[in-house]
Symmetry: C2
Subunit: 212 residues, 2 copies
C-alpha cells in the first residue's frame, strides 16, 4: 500500500502551498478548512497515514510541527552571498576586511550551498569585461570567490595590484622572482609584476551566468 488516497494527496499539496506562502506549517484546523474536511480527526488520521508512508515528519508536542520530506518538500539550503561589486581590468573594489556583512542593504545573490562548495565567507563579484572568456567566464557573469591570501600556479584569483590600485581576476603563475597574471583571452597580454606588488584577495570557486 504505497499509493496516496485522493484526500492524502490533497493534504500534501495543501501543505506545500501553505508553507510556500506563509513560511510556516499549517495547523490541523488550517488543513481542515483548506481541504474542505469536516473533522480535525480526519486530518489527523490522514496525517498519520502520510507519516507512515514517509511523506512527512511530525513533531509531536509541537503545534504546527509538520515537515515535508523528500526532495520536493525539503527546503534547499540557501546562502545569500554578498555581491560586493564588480571586478574587471579596472575599477578597484571594496574588499571585506572582516567577516562582518552587517550592512543589510548590500546587494546579495541567493544560491544553493553547493554553488559555493559549502564554504564560508564567500563573496560574489560581477565580472566586467571579457578577459577570462576562454575560461568560460564572460562579461556580466557573477563569480564566487573565497577569501584567500595565497595561490598556487594556475589558480584563478582576484588580485590587488598595489601599484595600479586596482583588482583584477586572472590566472596566477609564480615564475621565479616574478608573477604572471594571465588573462584567459588570447587577445590580451599577461601582466608581469613582482610578488610584492600583488595581494591575493580571493580564489575563484564557481560562476553563474544570470542573464543570457
Amino acid at each position: 500500500m504505497k499509493e496516496l488516497s485522493g484526500k492524502q494527496a490533497d493534504i500534501l499539496e495543501f501543505l506545500r502551498s501553505f508553507i510556500e506562502e506563509k513560511d510556516y506549517p499549517p495547523s490541523i484546523r488550517d488543513i481542515q478548512e483548506g481541504c474542505g474536511i469536516s473533522s480535525t480527526s480526519v486530518v489527523d488520521y490522514n496525517l498519520r497515514k502520510l507519516e507512515e508512508k514517509g511523506c512527512i515528519r511530525r513533531d509531536r508536542e509541537v503545534s504546527r510541527g509538520i515537515e515535508i520530506l523528500g526532495a520536493r518538500g525539503r527546503r534547499p539550503r540557501i546562502v545569500e552571498v554578498p555581491l560586493l561589486g564588480s571586478i574587471a581590468a579596472g575599477q578597484p573594489i571594496p574588499v571585506p576586511t572582516s567577516d562582518r556583512w552587517a550592512n543589510d542593504s548590500d546587494e546579495t545573490v541567493a544560491v544553493t550551498e553547493e554553488m559555493v562548495r559549502h564554504k564560508a565567507n564567500v563573496f560574489a563579484l560581477r565580472v566586467k569585461g571579457t578577459s577570462m572568456v576562454e575560461d568560460l567566464i564572460d562579461d556580466g557573469d557573477i563569480v564566487f570567490l573565497e577569501p584567500a591570501q595565497s595561490a598556487v600556479n594556475g589558480d584563478r584569483v582576484a588580485v590587488w595590484l598595489k601599484d595600479r590600485g586596482e583588482v583584477t581576476l586572472k590566472r596566477f603563475f609564480h615564475e621565479g622572482d616574478r608573477v604572471r597574471l594571465q588573462p584567459a583571452n588570447s587577445t590580451m597580454d599577461p601582466i608581469y609584476t613582482t610578488p610584492e606588488n600583488v595581494e591575493v584577495q580571493g580564489r575563484f570557486i564557481s560562476s553563474i551566468r544570470p542573464s543570457d
Copy 2:
C-alpha cells in the same frame, strides 16, 4: 530609535537559526528558553518592538506566526528543476511529453527563480562534451531549457535528430530549405539537415557550472 537592544538582536538571531534548523518558527516559549529569558512576557514585549521596527511580521491568532522580514530572512523563492539526463552529441535523452514530473525520485537541481527567468516547466540537462565551449557552455555544465517547438536563427536549442535518434545542443540556423546546427567549437563542423528531420525540444535559458 532604530537600534536593536542586545536582547532583541539575540531573539532575531535565534529566530533565524531556529527556522533554519526546524523549518518552522519557534513558539514564544521556545524563544524564552533559547535566549535564556525568564518570562514569556519579555519575549512578547521584545517581539512587539521588533515588529514596530519592521524586522519581523507577526500573525496574531496564529501560534508560531512569526516571519522574518528583509532580505536576510526572506526565503528566496526556489524552484527545483528536474535534471532529466545528459545532452551531448550523442545519447538520446528522455524528454517530457507532459508537464507532470510525478516521479519524485528524479534528480533535481535547486536554483533561484531568476536562474530560470521565472518560467514554468523548465528542465535541466547535464552537458557532455565541449561542442558549445565557445558559447561558454562546457563539459559538465548544467543547462536550463524551456520547452519549445521552434527556434529563430541563432537560438541555442536542444534538437532531436530523427534520423540519428539523438538529441544535441546546438545553435540553430534556418538556411533556405535546410537547417544548420552549429556547434560553438571551431574544431567541430556544423550539422546540415532538413527541417523535417529536426524537432526542437527546448530553448536554452541559462547555465551553471556546479563544479570548478
